[in-house]
């Protein structure tokens, strides 16, 4: 059952070298307060699974937005992502300095790999990436022909931690996402040993109708109250 903790307590759960999934798409739907605290914590050698590396300039004038803070502070050893082009520091650290390992995965495959990791499936059979260098990806386990069409078999993906962000989270840990912030948060909440969810607003049980819960509280281990995000 979800335990409500301070952001400092939540960050203290993360050891150096941990693998962490971060929800969010270019910072939209990321756990900004947690990430900010983590970026100041000195935790290092992280393996990060995230759609992207966000970007330096945020929409509210932030110098670094979302996990771009962790990139900038060189806390990430390995980044598994679908797109890193809007954060030039990734290319610097990976291609020039060689201090950051980057594995690129198609976005739809990444969503399915995480879903498979969280739902006990053995892998993903997707037509995406057939005939491309994705076939040489470390997560690509082979190619199979089913009913005359070729598919790549891609491995499930799990992590030690998932750090997700919801708009409303109730006292039972049920999460409701605003706008299109749900993106990777929903699948990531199912695919990690420990799930930390940051709320903009903590609400009473009943304020999210049971039909409108998008991440059930049983998936959430810790809730951090982040407050309404305003940069």
């Amino acid at each position: 059952m979800a335990k409500f903790v301070s952001v400092e307590e939540a960050v203290a759960l993360i050891p150096d070298g941990a693998s962490i999934m971060f929800g969010g798409f270019m910072g939209c739907g990321s756990a900004h307060k947690f990430i900010d605290a983590l970026s100041k914590s000195g935790k290092k050698d992280l393996t990060v699974i995230s759609n992207d590396a966000s970007m330096p300039g945020g929409p509210l004038g932030e110098e670094f937005y979302g996990i771009a803070k962790l990139v900038h502070n060189r806390q990430i050893k390995k980044l598994i992502a679908t797109h890193v082009g809007l954060n030039p520091e990734v290319a610097t650290q990976s291609m020039q300095e060689g201090t950051l390992e980057v594995v690129l995965i198609p976005q739809g495959s990444m969503a399915e790999m995480i879903r498979a990791g969280g739902s006990g499936l053995g892998g993903v059979l997707t037509p995406t990436g057939v005939g491309t260098i994705v076939e040489d990806n470390p997560y690509c386990l082979g190619k199979q022909t089913i009913n005359g069409r070729e598919y790549l078999l891609i491995a499930p993906l799990r992590a030690d931690f998932a750090v997700i962000a919801g708009y409303k989270i109730d006292k039972a840990g049920n999460v409701w996402y605003k706008g299109n912030t749900s993106n990777f948060n929903i699948v990531m909440a199912t695919a990690a040993d420990t799930v930390i969810a940051e709320a903009e607003v903590v609400v009473e049980i009943g304020e999210i109708a049971p039909e409108d819960v998008r991440t059930p509280g049983v998936f959430v281990d810790y809730v951090v109250e982040g407050g309404k995000y305003n940069g």
Partner: protein, 218 residues
């Protein structure tokens, strides 16, 4: 035509490929101009692969850059009747053939209808994002691009850059013409009368099959 006119010209022709009610995913750049050229009676539903079905123009009133962004990370908005979905549902929709068309640019395309547009090895590290899924899943893949790059052909016999997806393109629209991808190869179905067929072929590395119904581009 200057480059801005070229882009408008291409976008205008691409718009004719879209039907009323189509669910469409637009790549960055030129493709975003396409909706400007839709006839009044053609309404399409724009999908953003990071979780919006039915994007709308951003205004001061609807802007919420913390909670609603497009696939480039810029502020977006949702149109009446739209829906927000998560990434696994969004890409299920894309791979499952529920997107009628995707319009995107290309660095190189080839005779097999394969496309390369995501990486120049050693030069940049962007990532494929959702492009590989869109190319494999969308019912129609429309490449909208300038015919050449600095005078060099972009329509090749075989892509030299790493593929984004193989045998995926439905149609290629450039400022020189409209090219359909068929089992026989690349068929020029429309040409821009500013160019001769010889000029178009000269700007194209791939061999163009001239359609018996070849028409001027309008």
């Amino acid at each position: 035509m200057d480059r801005s006119e070229i882009k408008s010209f291409i976008a205008k022709r691409v718009a004719k490929e879209l039907k009323d009610g189509d669910v469409v995913n637009l790549g960055i750049g030129l493709p975003t101009l396409v909706p400007n050229y839709l006839p009044e009676d053609v309404h399409i539903i724009l999908q953003s692969e990071n979780g919006i079905i039915g994007t709308d123009t951003v205004t001061e009133e609807n802007k919420d850059p913390v909670h609603v962004v497009d696939a480039g990370g810029s502020p977006s908005a949702i149109a009446p009747g739209g829906a927000f979905i998560d990434s696994s549902v969004s890409f299920g929709m894309i791979r499952g053939g529920h997107v009628d068309a995707t319009v995107l640019g290309g660095l190189e395309v080839d005779e097999e209808g394969s496309l390369a547009n995501w990486i120049i090895p050693g030069k940049r590290m962007p990532g494929m994002g959702g492009a590989m899924d869109l190319l494999v899943g969308a019912k129609n893949v429309i490449v909208a691009m300038e015919h050449t790059a600095k005078g060099n052909p972009k329509i090749l016999k075989k892509c030299r850059l790493p593929y984004t997806a193989v045998k995926c393109i439905t149609i290629i629209v450039t400022e020189m013409g409209v090219i359909k991808v068929t089992d026989q190869g690349l068929v020029l179905t429309e040409y821009n009368p500013e160019f001769t067929i010889e000029e178009i072929q000269a700007a194209t590395e791939a061999t163009l099959i001239i359609s018996p119904d070849l028409k001027p581009m309008v």
